[in-house]
């Protein structure tokens, strides 16, 4: 039953990806421009990083090439989160709620959380991953780091768990819009909070360090995965990441269910 339902949603998601591709390709120029903007964004980031590292050799224990890898992975992380869940989905949720645009879709035999957070993937995010991957490559080759293939699975587990946690945090914050009258800034607030993840975890001191591991576990989103990639891996990250991902995802689901009971639709 559960498995069947999951398969059905996967199939539908595949359909939705195809739809998104067709639509984004219809606006080819747009697609290209956005990609260009994305690339420029990474390039300016790179230049400012170079400038910072002219005078100092380390930031919170990270050297220039390590920072390149961190920023590269951070780009992959944020593009994925934004593309899959935010840009056309959670960002529009408050507006859709106030306008009652969810009515028809919420009557369908679908998981409603899936509907509001994944209905329209932003296809352009895929080429936007390329600059991130280039940065990672530059960091590795420039710094002369090796990559231990044994660490790939732990890396992937932590990184994907981090994505799930990030999505769940975004979902929980955005869900509040069911109760609030003017909630359009909520998704943006969530995004800003999540972008804290793109910094090295070691810049946070004392209670903040614990806070960003346990309460709002952004350490698992970019910082720990980057360290794992570079061989600086601590074993408990894997079970902790999995457990946190499960807890956060479940919490977001429960919270969304509660919110739906308070859904008022809109007068039309």
């Amino acid at each position: 039953m559960e498995v069947n339902n999951f398969r059905k949603h996967l199939k539908i998601y595949w359909q939705l990806i195809k739809f998104a591709a067709i639509r984004d390709m219809t606006y080819r120029l747009n697609f290209f421009l956005e990609w260009l903007v994305e690339f420029g964004y990474v390039l300016t980031g790179l230049i400012s990083l170079r400038i910072i590292f002219v005078n100092i050799s380390e930031v919170a224990g990270w050297n220039f090439h390590q920072m390149l890898i961190l920023i590269g992975l951070g780009t992959v992380f944020s593009e994925t989160i934004l593309g899959l869940f935010f840009i056309f989905n959670l960002r529009k949720l408050p507006e859709k709620i106030t306008r009652g645009e969810l009515d028809l879709i919420l009557t369908k035999p679908l998981n409603s959380q899936f509907v509001v957070s994944m209905w329209r993937p932003y296809f352009t995010f895929i080429p936007s991953l390329i600059p991130g991957l280039i940065l990672i490559y530059l960091g590795f080759t420039g710094g002369g780091y090796g990559f231990d293939p044994w660490l790939f699975l732990p890396f992937l587990t932590i990184f994907l768990s981090g994505l799930v946690i990030a999505y769940s945090v975004g979902m929980i914050i955005t869900t509040l819009s069911v109760w609030l009258i003017n909630a359009t800034p909520l998704p943006e607030l969530a995004e800003h909070l999540l972008f804290l993840a793109e910094r090295p975890h070691s810049i946070f001191k004392g209670p903040f360090r614990i806070f960003f591991i346990l309460v709002l576990p952004i350490a698992f989103m970019v910082s720990f995965p980057t360290q794992t990639l570079m061989g600086d891996f601590i074993w408990w990250w894997v079970p902790a990441a999995l457990a946190l991902a499960a807890v956060f995802l479940k919490t977001s689901a429960l919270f969304w269910r509660l919110a739906l009971k308070h859904y008022q639709s809109a007068s039309s």
Partner: protein, 327 residues
């Protein structure tokens, strides 16, 4: 056997009162004032298999809210609803697979894609077997005559073509229960008629229970044997359309043809003159005094012909609703 059973349903909205300006916004953040809007206030009814029921009432009376409760979109404040044996707001997929909600002002078709893509997606969502899907689609497409638009981007279709495709998208899983909220709104007269004919045909052909809301009396008159009238969230009438006359018609219509011109002022003493263009006139006269008035007319006026008729249903209902607009 009833397919839909509604008992003492109440749905109150909380509408927040926001004071103007920034200060008002901040104040309302701290202490929110809200007023309950009694959109649906204790209504009960049941609907049987294959019934096509008209749900009418002035703007803001609570029709859409009722349908949203029946679709499981809204949690009501009180009352019970059973649709096909399910409580709608439990949002069980087994329930959701068996009904459909169509709203005249809202669309589910993907704007940038041809309608056929939405149909295919709905096939997956409702898990309709391929063969059944093809059969249903072919039949609906033929009845609605939309073969040639299936592969054209939705954004390029006319409103009428789009509405027809909306109907197909809503019916591709052969729902046993159908809620139609103002399906003819915004359509031209010809298209209204075609949508109407389709609803009638669909109801006969598939025996699905249908609730139809409309402020277009032609829809209701042509399609529904039974109507529910809702006013300020309360059900004020539930019965056959023809019974409305005995319940609400307190006037009769007298039509006369005069053989000579008469003084309209004198005519006005008999009853309310609705129209007078020599040689014809119509008057609206209180039911009890209608025979008397007719006799008086025959006695004091040069009459060539006189008929006594019931008020038209749409006039009665229009009168019930005139001046009312709660939205």
């Amino acid at each position: 056997m009833s397919v839909i059973r509604v008992r003492n349903l109440k749905k109150y909205y909380r509408v927040y009162q926001k004071e103007p300006g920034l200060l008002g916004s901040m104040k309302s953040l701290l202490r929110r004032k809200y007023q309950p809007v009694k959109a649906v206030d204790n209504i009960s009814f049941s609907i049987g298999r294959g019934e096509l029921v008209g749900f009418i009432g002035p703007n803001g009376a609570g029709k859409t809210t009722t349908l949203k409760c029946l679709s499981g979109l809204l949690f009501p404040n009180e009352g019970t609803v059973e649709v096909l044996g399910f409580t709608p707001w439990d949002r069980k997929p087994e329930f959701q697979k068996q009904f459909s909600l169509v709203m005249g002002q809202k669309n589910q078709l993907w704007w940038d894609l041809p309608p056929i893509e939405t149909f295919i997606l709905n096939r997956e969502i409702y898990e309709v077997p391929q063969k059944q899907y093809e059969q249903t689609l072919n039949e609906l497409v033929k009845i609605l005559e939309v073969e040639e638009v299936l592969k054209i981007q939705t954004r390029k279709l006319s409103l009428g073509q789009r509405m027809k495709c909306e109907l197909i998208a809503a019916l591709i899983h052969s729902p046993k229960v159908l809620f139609l909220d103002e399906p003819t709104i915004g359509l031209d007269v010809v298209m209204q008629k075609r949508v109407r004919d389709f609803i009638k045909l669909y109801n006969r052909r598939f025996k699905s229970a249908i609730i139809l809301t409309s402020h277009n009396m032609d829809d209701v008159k042509e399609l529904c044997q039974r109507v529910l009238i809702i006013d300020r969230g309360r059900l004020v009438f539930d019965g056959r359309l023809s019974e409305i006359i005995s319940k609400y018609a307190d006037h009769k219509i007298v039509s006369v043809v005069f053989s000579q011109e008469i003084d309209p002022k004198k005519l006005a003493k008999i009853g309310q003159v609705k129209s007078y263009h020599f040689p014809e006139a119509t008057l609206s006269i209180k039911r009890e005094t209608a025979p008397l008035a007719a006799a008086e007319l025959l006695q004091h006026f040069p009459i060539a012909d006189l008929t006594l008729e019931e008020e038209k249903i749409e006039d009665i209902i229009r009168e019930l609703f005139t001046g009312k607009d709660y939205a």
